[in-house]
Symmetry: T
């Protein structure tokens, strides 16, 4: 199983940026955790970050044929990007929307997701653990 | 670790009710999965269902001192119940909101949660697996 | 044919409560009319009232296998109860929403029904006769 | 007792038009059913259809002195016509609003009725039977 | 003079629950204060709490003939319960809406009261003293 | 204890103006009641009325250092005056918002208060008694 | 000077229809008053009524070249008709919008005029006198 | 007959201020026209202007017993002043709302009047002639 | 191929009416262009205009069996007519919505189309050329 | 005549992506059709696609001096991009907005165009033919 | 160059009032800074404060002929005063809106300015420096 | 002191683009003015423009450690970009939002800023001078 982890704008600042909201791990540390846990689960992962909406769209498009599932932390673009939504619909790869913080505790404009209605599910608020839970959800749907 | 799983109105009909939305497992089958996985993780669980908003409120209240975490599938009450929200705030036990279906794919009135802003996080759309992911999230926050 | 008549909060006060809005018959008198007319039409009826949203939900759930149709005067819960809506969807029994008063003549918040979109039809404004019309609608769909 | 049945725009296409929404009876067949049932109940009926809002307004006006009750399926004009509302208020003849389909199951703009607040009651969703139920409601208010 | 004090969901947690919002007195301590002050004023009081909307509705209904006035702290149900509103209208007993906290300082959804439009008046923000002020308002309307 | 009672626009017409809404006492009669009751409670009161928003703002400003509490019936300005709100925040004197009528029974624009979120509490709907209850609330917070 | 008075739906019922709102004069009596006063002012008038939006549109179109001014009581169509608005814009004849009743005292949907933004002015609330005031406004702009 | 003409903020600048909207007459010239025409009609007029909402409120209050009718061009305060609305309701003197410009041709916030619902009628858009038409409406209601 | 061109209210004034918005061609001149171009494309056209919503509805109804496609410039009725929408749905003939002006450059109320959701497509803003483009779209779908 | 065809995000997936909405032609096939038809009409075309809002903005900017007209299928950016709108306004090149699907048949957020108000016109819903119709509209404005 | 600095309600409390929002300088200290800097720039300034909307309106009116520019910190009136807006439009003196605090960081009702659309520009959030920046903007438009 | 000036989409067209809104200076000319004035004030500046939201985000991120302050004219992205907002919050460098035009005089969608709530202040409407005022605000906070 191959899983593509995509990270949206400003997530490259993790660890330095508002740790009371986003936690103190860097994105590289989260990636390491993901890779380690994926190895344990027998999954292959790719892990990328971009500040550009267009680049994220292109990455989703290119995932066709290469990945079985996308885990998408679209960050700020979650709330406004119809282009990401259309890309997910277009490629038809199951996608899980995740967030580090619980977006429903924050400003009202973060409560709306343009992406959730075309995703399989949403995991929000568990810090770096949101990534691992998505991995579990992806790999292990039929477990237990 | 002791975890209280609370299930709101109509979840007692699971398996029979609109399986294309909610899946084909009964609530008892989900409970069994949860118990089995909890045992593996060394957690103790209680698992209840009620159609009554007031009873759910009371169960949350009584959890104080007995449980370390609540996993709450409030179903229909998710979208309107200020009483559940107040109960969660009042007892101060970390609570995870879960849903079987991806509520963001459904009617607009299911997109608003009165409860999410006082919860630790939200897991939505993974069918019975939402319960297990919440269990993982609860038990295993520091794993890996 | 077996029909379940369910009455929501405050309908037990009929006859005493604001007769200029709800008429002067008591709920017992309406029940008597319903039973008499049902007998004439060869239908069997059960007739209940509750002030509790949860109990109404449970009664709808229990109707599965026992009743062919539900006539539901959900009163105040009509306008806010997603739980009742989900119960109706879940059991899949044809349901008719009724009201004594014409709700569209009253406060704006009574114009919205959470239940109507999952019901077969709506009858509103004919006083106790709304019950009898629903009975006709239920029994006699193919009449004449 | 004399009852005027008025039918709004596009109802002349019944039977041919979207039968999954409106049923397979033509308006003439519905009229026949109404006349037959009215005869049984000892009521006299007139039955008309128009695509013109102005003509419907005029027919309501002319009903004064000639009819005891109006049964109005205003179709599309239900949701926007203040002129029909004013006509009903002006003539002071009790009016019953009816619909073949359950308008609350359909597009949001069909949930608002400009007419219901000046009508005696509303019957919606019973197909051709909505006409017969209105007839019952009109003739038989004191029955049983 | 007989006065019924009704307390809505989560008020049984008073004293333990978010004291910076609700104060540090328990509901029992508030009841004691109310009883003591009522005795001084020559009023008889009953004092109850429920987490169930339906039970609160039933208590209001049963107050007819037994109580001269209701003091209602409906807590979370204040903002959504049409059933409580209808019960108050139905029994016709003067009712005073009270709150411990100043609801207008809190989340926007707490600013709307479904109940206030059918109450005599509203007292909000004085902690346990809101109960005593309501008692004064009830007993002593013509004082001084 | 020194308390400043401020009365907003049109309250000088009390007694003559729409007595079915505001009661039949004049503002002078209310002042007399307040003074008498204050004397009993050992409080000193000042009592003023103005039709000018600016003058009310200035009076609040001047209260600093002279008064321990403000009782404010801002009447029409309640619903629109940010200047009054800012004045209350600026001077930091505890302020109680009062109304003669139950504003929640009246036009929708009277349901919003610009002032309540910076006040200690709100008392609404008890006629002249609203003034006396505010006096009690002010003086006697720790009573009983 | 030639003035066209146009009357919209249901105004043919004046005198009979809700006299507490619209006054007790018939449209013919109003026309007589208008004609008499116009004669005094040296103006020629035409005076028509229609229940049909399309016919009113056509009359406005035909006024070009024949009339110097239109006085339009569009009644119910005032609030919804873009077609009337476009007709007024198209013919470029100064138009005065009038109403018998004060529309701002009535239902909210009567507060919006689709026509007023393309009219010279609005006169509302003076009963039959609204017609005469419009006549004055039309004829006598430069008087005194 | 005694009529009070009240003019709100910035009307003292008439003639100089945006003549394409408000015309080129000064307020003094309008007053002269009003006085001349009133004399002809046998009416007595008082004519005042203020930039202060509070002063306008006070003038309306003082009109009781001295004037039979108020003509009110409240200018900017038309759209926001609940205090003026309350003053008109309180004194019970018939009031006519007027505007020089057609407010419905201008910014959306000028389309709402807080005052119109308590006025006898509204005249808007006829420049200085709006004053004379209001005078006619006041004096001559029963003319012709 | 037979195509029905339907023109709504005020389009009979084209050429004379606001040419800066609608162009300087009359409707007859547009019809001539359409007929000439249709002949070239081997299509047969009918071309009609009405100010009456009801007549337009009837023409759409009558098109069944006679026309392969409707080109509809519903003008003002575009934005409000549910009756036209229902007629298009009912007859099931592919319909193209057109406009002379670019409606999105104009008043907000012209941005909403009640008809577009049941049409094949929309062409807006090309003046008389909108008609010819619709003709091309109709006839030539498979061209090139 | 030189025409720039710009295609927004995800249009590079055409043919593969949701063919029931967007048709089965690839973007290259559409380009070929456009080039062929343009050759016939004597027009020169450039044809580009980008997933990046910024790149689309830059291409519009660079069109100044090189192209006579832009045909813009902005896809997802249609509904949110003020930057594209500003670019079109800034370069002053006539622009035609096109869509493959009829956007008015789809989600509500696709009904609003940020771009249409600065475009010459809109063509929506004709599949690949929308491109050819825009070409016709561009080249052939004065034809026939 | 002569510049009028106008300060709205509660600004006379600066320094004492919520220094974390408004800074610790008094209005007199700000005035001194403004005068000193104006002298350096060769500008003459007048500096006033009022709690009265009407007085601020009058001061703006009187500025005509005496001042070249107005710097207006309308404080609370910024968000609601149409009268101030009309005064600025009427006198035609360039006006700069300023705020001490960044109003966009505060309550939603402070985000709307009724005045900004008729001002030259807005400077918000620089504390006392907002006054000096406005002075620079006024005097030195062509500098550097 | 080091200041980063960032310019958003379409600002590279300044001088050519709609000079009546944005002035006639090119961005290079504004940069020259800024550099000259900065030199005078002893500040170092960097000055960049991009049409890409992602690039602007990245530049803000990279400013950490290199710049003391950011002056941001985000142009079109001001009104929609949560990514820019998050970047500003994340890097924690004081940021001043500027605009050439007074955005409050323009379309409603330009009145909302997603960025202002995380900025130090806003300067809008002074043309190229807005840049110099921001420079002053940055450098000279404690001046005079």
């Amino acid at each position: 199983m191959k899983i593509l982890f995509l990270n949206g704008p400003n997530l490259n600042l993790l660890g330095q940026r508002e740790p009371e909201i986003y936690g103190s791990l860097t994105l590289a540390q989260i990636e390491a955790k993901v890779r380690k846990h994926a190895a344990k689960l027998g999954a292959e992962v790719d892990f990328r970050q971009s500040n550009s909406e267009g680049e994220l769209v292109s990455w989703i498009q290119q995932a066709r044929g290469s990945f079985d599932l996308i885990v998408l932390n679209a960050a700020a673009y979650t709330h406004t990007s119809i282009a990401l939504r259309d890309a997910i619909s277009a490629v038809g790869i199951p996608t899980i929307e995740i967030h580090l913080s619980n977006v429903y505790r924050r400003e009202e404009f973060r409560h709306r997701s343009m992406i959730a209605p075309v995703c399989k599910g949403v995991i929000s608020g568990f810090g770096a653990n949101s990534y691992l839970l998505a991995l579990e959800a992806a790999v292990n749907d039929t477990r237990k």
